[in-house]
Amino acid sequence: MIAELSSPFLLYGAVGCLLIGMGLYSLALHTHVYRRILAWNALGGGVFLFLGAIAKRNAYGGSSDPLPQALVITGIVVSVSATALALAIARRLQTEERGNGA
């Protein structure tokens, strides 16, 4: 049992699931927008780690399955742009609200 747990894909998968759970919990808990964006990034990191675990599980010989790795790279590009867009909107919202409040 312990030997199985220490195999890399199970470890990655378990950590990925932990990150997903933490991300979801913080997304549900927090209302502040920056915390929500961070929580969403943790959630995304968990999903990507899970994909990495699948790549490792499907390993053939010495090399991992390349397809999930390609998916992770594309996913990271998407999530960086998503974070940038969310931060840009949040910032403009903040300046807008400051301008009206002052």
């Binding site: 997903i20 927008v33 969403w40 999903v47 999930p68 867009l85 969310a86 909107i89």
Partner: protein, 492 residues
């Protein structure tokens, strides 16, 4: 050859439009966006005309496991046609909307985002692997969120942020489902993994995650909270795109998954059906009590999306009957509903935009006298209204008729009752607007502004399409026959 050219143009030309409208100087932007719109429409038309049977296309010759394949069938082409019709009308309308002196100058931001949205929708309807669908969904979300922020006030920014965070969480749920499914099936191509065995718990978990994510993005009833704010605050051409097309994209993926990949889901589909029934009743009641027209139309979208989710139990039952004609009727009715709702909802938002531009407010009471002032707008509202209620001659009538007969035929009486009751509720909000529009204007109302003719023409075009869809039904059904999951054997 022509077919492949048309197919690649449908995918690539909108993205050329994105780059071109970003880089070209201001004076060339308008003719260029007109050119791109025409080219994409021509390509979609050529693809629809040349479609005989479902076919696959391998992008640059790479096969399924590594490359990205396109799967072109009747459903995909029908969605492309809907997107083209609505986007064409919206582009004409937006041209008038942003050239009019009264609105500011966000036209620079509108065109690249518009073509980005169009291109990502086209790609989403054509690709056959679930991960590329995820990328297209994200592209679509980014363009629509950025389009909402064109309204430029704090309220719009807040609505856009809520929408973005909800949609992003939904897409990660979808992505996790895709990851699990890849681990289980070893492929991302939905045509290769079909049919998934009904007793595989891991695949079911993947389906649940993907479905949960997609109904968050598609605003099914309990998860619709972001929709009314976002759709009502956006500028009129943007609202039309969001309500008519963007919410259809997650539904399209769900339809593929539940009908064409998981063919054996007897009880689970009733969960979606029950949520759909809740959406129809709750959304319609909310629409009836709204005092602002744009919010009313947005809640009407929540309600109408409910009908689309009634499709899942109906199609699931259809898959288990031997009656070929009944199965075909149910499948065509569902897709026809998506098409006719898209056209009707787009024209409703465009008409609301016209009235707002003329009277400077979207308060229901300010509509007094609209029938005398903007008669064309009220006419199109009426046409869109009869399509939403389901009265002939309109696309909505045909679609609702097919759904209703299928529900009765398969003995799904509760759904049939909800479909009929929903039509009654829809007439409540449609006629509420018409009631105010036909009241005599009171003397206190401010002098009305003129609206550019091209905006009225765009709305009238969509009104004509609604009526044509009620008359020339067979032409659309002929397209749907290609690659249908419920083929009629022996039919020509």
């Amino acid at each position: 050859m022509t077919r492949d050219l048309a197919l690649t143009s449908v995918l690539l030309v909108p993205f050329l439009g994105v780059i071109g409208t970003l880089l070209l100087p201001e004076r060339l932007r308008r003719p260029f966006s007109f050119l791109v719109t025409t080219l994409v429409l021509a390509a979609v038309g050529a693809l629809a005309v040349s479609l005989r049977d479902a076919f696959r296309y391998e992008i640059s010759g790479w096969g399924a496991p590594l490359g990205i394949d396109l799967h072109v069938d009747g459903l995909a082409v029908a969605m492309l046609l809907l997107t083209g019709t609505v986007a064409g009308a919206v582009s004409a309308y937006a041209d008038g909307h942003y050239r009019d002196g009264s609105s500011q100058k966000p036209a620079a931001g509108f065109w690249p985002l518009f073509f980005g949205l169009w291109g990502s929708l086209n790609a989403l309807f054509l690709v056959s692997d679930l991960f590329t669908m995820y990328v297209c969904l994200e592209l679509m979300t980014f363009s629509s969120v950025a389009l909402i922020t064109l309204a430029k006030d704090a309220q719009a920014l807040r609505a856009a942020l809520t929408y973005l965070m909800t949609a992003l969480t939904g897409s990660l749920a979808y992505l996790l489902g895709v990851a699990i499914l890849y681990g289980e099936m070893g492929t991302l191509d939905w045509t290769l993994m079909s049919p998934v065995p009904g007793d595989d718990p891991v695949a079911w978990m993947a389906l649940s995650l993907m479905t949960a994510g997609l109904i968050m993005k598609g605003a099914l009833y309990p998860l619709h909270f972001w929709l009314p704010g976002a759709h009502a605050i956006a500028p009129a051409p943007v609202s039309a795109l969001l309500s008519a097309l963007v919410v259809k994209a997650p539904f399209f993926i769900l339809l593929r998954l539940w009908v064409q990949v998981w063919t054996d889901a007897p009880y689970a589909s009733h969960v979606l059906g029950a949520l759909g029934a809740g959406a129809i009743i709750w959304g319609s009641f909310q629409a009836i009590i709204q005092e602002r027209v744009k919010l009313m139309v947005a809640y009407s979208t929540v309600a109408q999306l409910g009908y689309l989710f009634l499709a899942f139990p109906i199609l699931e039952t259809a898959a288990r009957t031997a009656d070929q004609a009944a199965r075909q009727d149910a499948w065509e009715g569902v897709i026809y509903f998506a098409l006719s709702h898209g056209v009707a909802k787009a024209s409703m938002f465009l008409v609301t935009g016209l009235v707002v531009q003329a009277t400077k407010t979207d308060d229901l009471r300010s509509l007094r006298g609209a029938a005398a002032h903007v008669p064309a707008a009220v006419l199109v509202w009426g046409l869109a209204g009869i399509s939403l209620i389901g009265l002939p001659p309109s696309g909505g009538f045909i679609a609702k008729w097919q759904l209703l007969t299928s529900a009765i035929r398969f003995g799904l009486w509760p759904y049939a009752a909800v479909i009929l009751f929903g039509g009654l509720l829809a007439s409540g909000y449609v006629f509420r607007v018409l009631w105010y529009a036909f009241l005599a204007p009171d003397g206190s109302s401010a002098p009305k502004a003129r609206v550019p003719a091209v905006m009225v023409l765009a709305a009238l075009f969509l009104g004509t399409v609604i009526v044509l869809m009620g008359i020339r039904t067979a032409d659309v059904f002929a397209v749907l026959k290609a690659g249908s999951p419920f083929p009629t054997v022996g039919a020509p």
